[in-house]
């Protein structure tokens, strides 16, 4: 992170070194790795670390974006610009059956939409390209079942996670052995916190989608959550009028399922300050997590990342 190393590494330097070490292990031992790139801040950090890990080579794996068709427009344009600038290979996948059936959060509800357009779509893409190792940007501090997951998290040929029977993970020696058809999800950011991510973005000047910064955006309020009207597929209820509000997003996903927060934070310092002073967690903004308790563990067992 700096040109001369001091004798004691800071915790961010340690986290950086750990993530790079993990990525290099995967590239050395997996047959066909891929990086799941979701365009959010964690993916931004993960991609930046990959650029560092293999420099001066390019990361020796493609990026995969599972596009549900309902991502914020700004995410897609940011993604395409960045990939072009870095000269990387990007694969995108949308569940073709879901697309044909017109599956979306407004018509089918968040649970069905997420299952078909995200979970099933991801499995399709991993099977299609026969990826045996997939990097994901999940962190253990995000959620209580994530806190239990290994850095190298093993999946059956059906993409299932067995939380009661995880391989022991000792020191930083990772067991990458698996049978035909089985795969491994790898989480290089496991030990990072939300603050670590933001501070690293700040220190390393990593570009992120502008939606993280406050700006005037058209929103409607539904069940206490501010939803941005990102395109005209959003059906407005009787008398519902999009209002312009100064908002930003703590986490990014499908726009109809992502709550905005009212904010004036438009620099990284502002964002970090707001995050440290707020008393709610970042996942609060994700509509899908409210569906049922213990929902993440269940989703993960079914193959959600």
């Amino acid at each position: 992170m700096s040109a001369t190393a001091q004798i004691h590494l800071t915790h961010l330097q340690r986290l950086e070194a750990e993530a790079i070490h993990i990525m290099r292990e995967v590239v050395s031992e997996a047959q066909n790795p891929v990086m799941l790139y979701s365009v959010g801040k964690d993916s931004a950090v993960m991609l930046h670390l990959a650029m560092k890990a293999f420099y001066p080579s390019k990361p020796p794996f493609p990026l995969l974006h599972v596009d549900t068709g309902w991502k914020f427009k700004e995410m897609i344009s940011f993604r395409d610009d960045l990939v072009a600038k870095l000269g990387l290979e990007l694969l995108t996948h949308t569940n073709p059956e879901g697309l044909a059936d017109g599956v979306g959060p407004f018509t089918h509800g968040s649970a069905v939409h997420t299952d078909i357009m995200k979970t099933q779509a991801l499995k399709q893409a991993l099977d299609k390209y026969e990826f045996d190792a997939a990097f994901g940007g999940a962190r253990r501090d995000e959620e209580k079942s994530r806190a239990k997951e290994r850095i190298f998290s093993f999946r059956s040929a059906q993409h299932q996670w067995d939380p009661k029977n995880q391989r022991p993970e000792l020191w930083s020696i990772y067991n990458v052995q698996k049978h035909e058809g089985e795969s491994i999800r790898v989480f290089p950011l496991s030990n990072w916190t939300e603050l670590d991510i933001w501070q690293y973005i700040h220190l390393e000047q990593i570009p992120i989608v502008p939606l993280y910064f406050a700006a005037e955006r058209p929103v409607v309020e539904r069940d206490g959550t501010l939803i941005m009207v990102d395109d005209d597929r959003m059906p407005l209820k009787d008398g519902e009028q999009p209002m312009l509000k100064n908002v930003r997003f703590r986490t990014l996903g499908c726009y109809p399922l992502t709550g905005a927060v009212e904010s004036t934070a438009n620099t990284l310092q502002d964002i970090i300050q707001e995050m440290l002073l707020t008393r709610t967690s970042e996942r609060q903004g994700r509509v899908i997590d409210h569906d049922q308790s213990a929902s993440m563990e269940k989703k993960k067992q079914e193959g959600y990342f």
């Binding site: 590494l9 050395s28 959620e143 209580k144 009661k164 970090i272 709610t280």
Partner: protein, 633 residues
């Protein structure tokens, strides 16, 4: 100034301070229900790491599945798996993160239940410090000792003994002192340089973050106070320089870099280095990173090095200071903790992974195992789940290493089962054994080729495998008769016969079966060297050992013949009456009945005796040998 004030008034100053906080990685461990998860939950809660939405969820969960009635059950903050909440126990490690004004913490809450000891070891392997909990009502238990022993074996140098549930023993100083004395008697025999004891109540919060008004007799710091202040700095940078090569970076013909994470010491351009195990010498040319080249890099950093000379280096090699390079050996004295329900099989070939190298390893029978209760060394033939033993280990090629005492990263390894791919053992290298180095291979004038030529044949091993009574010996006998008749030199190694002599000391446990096959494989290799067509007729139920035999021979020399007779047919034949005995329970570990048979996946020749006569079967084997050019038609 208070942290949150600094956050509001000067965020840049806060971030600068936060960036330079030191990091402490610790675990909670101890026996089941001692209150580990409750303690972590309490720590997170009191250090304000719990958000409002999480707190609301916690309050609801506590009412629904908690162990504390209407009150908050802090353990639910860490016991995140559905099964854990249902059973009220911890099954796997939870990693949680928090920070105070002075430090950043990564804590791993580990399970106390004996069944999940390997998950405790997972947490302990990366910890600087262990908080060992004891239920004040129970005192020191076997599991307390087991965890203390594992932590000390793994090199965790700081242990905080947290005597918990003091609220249930009237906050009694006497109870506390007795428990601490009791533990110290035990711990004196272990290598724990720093031990500190604190009386706490995880539930009520006494001495967790703040002091306790019920225990004025305790004058030391609270648990958090201790964790914030304790000095765990290990002088990794003062170790000799080591970097295991993970990945060779070759973007184009002009650049060849070696990527890895520094596992000890400091490195600077111009330093003299040695590459192991080849021993080649060179100098560091550059330390390359995406930001810019570095003037120096230290233990813990991930970097890419280039050298001044073009030398052949690949993944798994170690680049080290040429002054004090690591040792090289292919045999070691090690301490192994067994992590699998399947016991360790001495003689079986496992995959062994060190910092970044994958090799084959076989473990010898333990010299002893340790009784965690008494720390007595007991004789052992194998290691069962959670047992800790001292074993000699041999690898298939020399590797560079340090003793675990000196360097946790270059002295540790895991063992992986070839069939299941599971991590079945973890180990620490104590010291090298020089046996292999002192017994040199004797080159003989009359070698295998000469022996074979004299006999006018290509030597080979015909390995007959299959259930008892499948017809292996009958078919092998017929094949040998035909070979003999056509003037070939051959020999039969028969399971029953060899067990009368060479292998008379072996029984039928899995471990003995592995050793049985290992010896026969070695003998058949000698026979092949003598130029013989060697027929081996052994049940040889495990794929791993048949593969071991195959790997001893040269390409094409090993012909696996699967005598595939269904169990029902073999059992009706029952030529030696063994199936009957086994079914009656009078014969233990009988293959096919209460001991597994792992069928070959790609045998060279497969015979189903159900629909084939002995003559036809022998004919098929002979034809197979002709097809493979071992004998002529």
């Amino acid at each position: 100034m208070h942290q949150s004030d600094l956050i509001s008034s000067d965020i840049d100053a806060y971030l600068k301070a936060h960036e330079n906080k030191s990091l402490l990685r610790f675990i909670t461990c101890g026996s089941v229900d001692d209150g580990k998860s409750t303690l972590i939950g309490r720590l997170l809660y009191e250090s304000k790491m719990i958000f409002e939405d999480q707190l609301t969820a916690l309050e609801q969960d506590s009412k629904k599945v908690g162990t504390q009635g209407e009150n908050i059950d802090f353990a639910l903050l860490v016991d995140g798996l559905a099964a854990e909440r249902e059973q009220g126990i911890t099954i796997d490690v939870a990693y949680r993160f928090f920070a105070t004004e002075h430090r950043k913490f990564i804590v791993a809450d580990t399970p106390g239940h004996e069944q999940y000891t390997r998950n405790m070891a997972t947490g302990a392997s990366t910890a600087d410090l262990a908080v060992l909990l004891i239920d004040a009502r129970q005192g020191v238990l076997t599991q307390t000792k087991r965890h203390a022993f594992i932590a000390s074996q793994l090199g965790v140098r700081h242990i905080v003994l947290a005597v918990n549930k003091m609220d249930l023993v009237d906050y009694s100083e006497k109870v506390f002192n007795e428990i601490v004395d009791d533990f110290k008697t035990f711990a004196d025999q272990l290598d724990i340089p720093n031990l500190h004891a604190i009386p706490v109540s995880a539930l009520a919060g006494d001495n967790v973050v703040d002091g306790s008004r019920y225990m004025p007799w305790y004058e030391g710091p609270s648990l958090l106070g201790y964790l914030e202040a304790v000095d765990v700095e290990t002088e990794e940078t003062s170790l000799p320089f080591r970097m295991p090569v993970q990945w060779v970076n070759r973007p184009d013909l002009d650049f060849r870099g070696y990527a890895g994470r520094i596992a000890g010491g400091i490195v600077r351009p111009g330093d003299d280095v040695r590459v192991l195990p080849s021993g080649k010498q060179s100098k560091i040319a550059r330390i390359v990173t995406m930001d810019s080249d570095l003037d120096e890099a230290v233990s813990g950093q991930s970097v890419t090095l280039t050298l001044t000379d073009e030398i052949d280096i690949s993944r798994g090699d170690v680049i080290a200071t040429s002054e004090t390079p690591p040792e090289i050996s292919d045999q070691f004295d090690t301490t192994i903790i067994w992590l699998s329900e399947e016991p360790m099989l001495p003689g079986r070939s496992y995959r062994m992974k060190t910092s970044s190298r994958l090799v084959s390893a076989t473990v010898n029978a333990p010299k002893h195992k340790t009784d965690v209760n008494t720390l007595q060394k007991l004789p052992a033939k194998t290691l069962q789940l959670n047992e800790i033993g001292n074993c000699t280990l041999a690898v298939d090629r020399p590797i560079a290493f340090d003793s675990y005492n000196e360097n946790r990263q270059t002295g540790s390894f895991i063992l992986i089962d070839r069939m299941s791919n599971n991590t079945v053992g973890m180990g620490m290298i104590n010291f090298p054994l020089r046996r292999a180095a002192n017994i040199h291979w004797q080159n003989l004038d009359i070698n295998k080729a000469a022996n074979a030529e004299q006999k006018g044949q290509s030597p080979a091993v015909l390995w007959f495998t299959g259930l008892s009574g499948s017809g292996k010996s009958t078919i092998a006998n017929e094949v040998q008769r035909r070979l003999f008749a056509s003037g070939r030199h051959s020999f039969i190694l028969d399971g029953d016969n060899v067990r009368h002599g060479l292998n008379r000391d072996l029984g039928f446990t899995d471990a003995d079966r592995v050793e049985n096959i290992r010896r026969v494989a070695e003998v058949s290799k000698l026979m092949v060297d003598a130029g013989l067509i060697t027929l081996v007729s052994f049940i040889s139920p495990f794929r791993a050992e048949r593969d071991l035999a195959r790997n001893l021979m040269e390409e094409g020399e090993f012909i696996e013949i699967f005598v595939n007779t269904p169990l029902s047919v073999a059992e009706t034949r029952d030529p030696k009456g063994l199936y009957k005995k086994a079914r009656a329970g009078n014969l233990k570990n009988f293959t096919g009945i209460d001991s597994p048979y792992e069928a070959p996946e790609n045998p060279e020749i497969e015979i189903n005796t159900d629909d084939m006569s002995v003559e036809d079967a022998a004919e098929r084997v002979i034809n197979g040998l002709i097809e493979r050019g071992i004998i002529e038609a």
